[in-house]
Amino acid sequence: MVHFQRWQAILVAAICLLGILFAAPNLLSTKDAEGLPGWLPQQQINLGLDLQGGSHLLLEVDLKTVLKEHVDSLADSIRRELRGARIRFAGLRASGTQVVFRVRKPEDTERARTLLLRTVGASTSGSLLGGGGPEVSIETESDGRFRVNLTETAIRSRQDQAIDQSVEVIRRRIDETGTLEPIIQRQGKDRILLQVPGLDDPERLKRLLGKTAKMTFHLTIGCATVPRDTKAPPGARILPSDDDPNIFHIVRKRIRVSGEDLIDAQATIGQQRGLPVVAFRFNSRGARRFGDVTKRNVDRCFAIVLDGKVISAPRIIQPILGGSGIITGGFTITTANELALLLRAGALPAPLKVLEERTVGASLGADSISAGQIASILGLVLVIVFMVIAYGRFGLMANIALTANMILIAGALTLLQATLTLPGIAGIVLTIGMAVDANVLIFERIREEARAGRPAISAVDAGYRRAITTIIDSNLTTFIAAMMLFFFGSGPVKGFAVTLSIGLATSMFSAIMITRFFVVWWLRRNRTKDLPL
């Protein structure tokens, strides 16, 4: 314990040097750090949202809606196929994950079954790379009752798709706002974690995510608006206006053109009245359909429906053949911009629900950083002064190790790109207090050994030797608690667990290696018998 091999000394020095190298960019501004020559580390500590400001949102994708839509469309296909084959049926409806109906004549059962197996049953789910299976399973009964079930695999793959697609659409929407580096992660079965740093208007973010933005174009029945309790004729629905929830339109169910065919949307100022409008452009399929509908229905009204609300239902004055048009409505510049953005980014496959939101303003984050800095520096100074008072020269050596420890923590956090949170800073401050513990253990042990009459070198040797197991035992138990925090904690608490664990590792290293290096060096220079401890 009182021998330090040359390679050991070099290793300790090298680790400290690396620590300094990785920690140093944190002292620079982000811009200066990026300007460092390429061979130097440029990364800085990753600040958590509670320190840099930003929004953390936990979203849930409404998979029930996805499933319901899917079963509804399955029901539609079945209806179409049966009608096409002139098989008479009754009671066709979607319920849960199945479609049920009954063929009128039991002798049609086999024919219907083969037909459905060939058509709706033939499409497979799953990825292109396989792993798929049949989309549906069909059960029949002798009285002609049919139960067409979506299979487990079909349900799962549909849900997976919906989530992946949601992540993609969210990413596009956030990217459109020009926000830097959002983190969008799938979490668990039906959740998406969204972390957006440095956003000044979280409400806007929620507005952007609150709309599925499914846009469809429908013909209306009559151009007049109607009161709420109007009964819808077959094949039509009563939908509220987007501007005023008390105004309703009678809208035909059939979708003439859908938002999927849009290729661009921009907010502009309308030429006629100088109000904000959204100009859009279709792809060739959309343009053709749009042209057909407008050509055949001049003088009728054409409703633009977004998420079940009628944005506007203008009268078709002349055919629109170029594939582009404008949406007027009671837009402000902001709402026009947002609608354009949503249309460009595409529709979400299902509504999103915000389960959890944590938004921290930039000013609070900055306050927390400076409070954390003051507390760490003050804590460090207090401990350093105390160690000198308690252990004199040896305290100084422990303080060098403590300082090295701080640098190593900063370096490790930077290197691992772990996220530093406010509780994380608390973890570091706590480490300052506990880091000297290893040294205290060793020094107290050395004192005891010296008191027992051992000469200086032997006391130091025994002190280290005996204290080390205790140090390992005590640090490992704390480490167990930190691990549990890491696995079960979320967000900031995880950050606390990370800094605490890193602190434990670096403080053991600094106490056992760095302090010892100085103690040994001092012992060899002053071949004294009395330890100044």
Binding site: S363, L364, A375, T470, L485
Partner: protein
């Protein structure tokens, strides 16, 4: 030249006075339980669900006027309190009935009611579903951490040590919970972290003394156990006190300068360090006497030295 907080040949009869400590701990423990169950823990929105908004007004905040404004919104229980500065107000709104949409609508209503001259420093909302999950995660973190420590101490020492350590640790955990209940400090996710840190600190302290007990049991084969344990405590007392002081210095700096957001967290750490130190000395070691520790079954003598070689 060096300061000695604890005199060199200190000999305080901790073990002899163990019954006083046990009674003291029992009283504190009962108080903590009573306080936790009668007053209840002041659960933050992390666990309860609900809305928390930290707002900063341009001048000193007129909390009464804000309370009237928000009280009229029909959002259920709304509480306002000054937060660190006269301009800062912490607004808590209970969980809204209905789904998550209702919560978000409530946030919008509050922001509309307070008007434009308010800066929103923090907006948090936790839905009931997530709240429930966080309670369970916190609970499991706590239980598994204690269990992990139990197993480790068992592995490194003997089961008697491990049981004594867990009794002392549970004492610390409950007293910390009681501290939160009695002072009405907010109990949130960060608090769970604080409680686990306290557990970590306390076990750290306990293990150091246990190590010495084990060492002395090999060294002094004939010494009666109570005397041996008291000797072990006194031998490590200087270290225990010094480390507690350095930790308290650092955590104290955190309480005073660390900012309002983590003040409760830091206070819990201060309390925990004091309680953890006390329980290691006055509970964990004396408790060993009641668990029939055997001298000969300790880890073989040479393991320690060869392990560090």
């Amino acid at each position: 030249m060096a300061l000695k907080l604890v005199p060199e040949n200190v000999n305080i009869a901790f073990v002899k006075r163990r019954r006083y400590f046990f009674v003291l701990s029992a009283i504190l423990f009962v108080l903590a339980i009573v306080s936790t169950f009668t007053q209840g823990l002041n659960f933050g929105i992390d666990f309860k669900g609900g809305i928390l908004i930290e707002a900063r007004t341009s001048g000193p905040a007129d909390i009464a006027a804000m309370r009237t404004k928000l009280g009229g919104l029909g959002l259920g229980e709304v509480s306002l309190q000054e937060f660190g500065k006269p301009t800062d107000v912490l607004i808590r709104v209970e969980k809204q009935t209905g789904n998550e949409k209702a919560q978000i609508a409530a946030i919008d209503k509050i922001k509309a009611a307070l008007g434009a001259n308010v800066e929103y420093r923090r907006t948090e909302f936790v839905g009931p579903q997530v709240g429930r999950e966080l309670i369970w995660a916190g609970f499991w973190a706590m239980v598994l951490a204690l269990f992990g420590i139990l197993v480790y101490v068992w592995f490194r020492f003997e089961w008697q040590f491990s049981v004594a350590a867990i009794v002392a640790l549970s004492h610390d955990v409950f007293l910390t919970l009681g501290f939160f209940a009695a002072l009405r400090l907010e109990f949130n996710l960060a608090t769970v972290a604080a409680v686990l840190t306290v557990a970590g600190y306390s076990i750290n302290d306990t293990v150091v003394v246990f190590d010495r007990v084990r060492e002395n049991m090999r060294k002094y084969k004939k010494m009666p156990l109570p005397e041996l344990m008291n000797k072990s405590i006194n031998e490590t007392l200087s270290r225990t006190v010094l480390t507690s002081v350095t930790t308290l210095l650092a955590v104290g700096a955190l309480v005073v300068f660390g900012g309002q957001v983590i003040r409760d967290f830091s206070l819990a750490l201060v309390w925990g360090v004091v309680i953890g130190t006390y329980s290691s000395i006055c509970l964990a070691v004396p408790l060993l006497l009641y668990f029939n520790v055997r001298r000969d079954s300790s880890v073989p003598e040479n393991v320690k030295d060869t392990a560090t070689g």
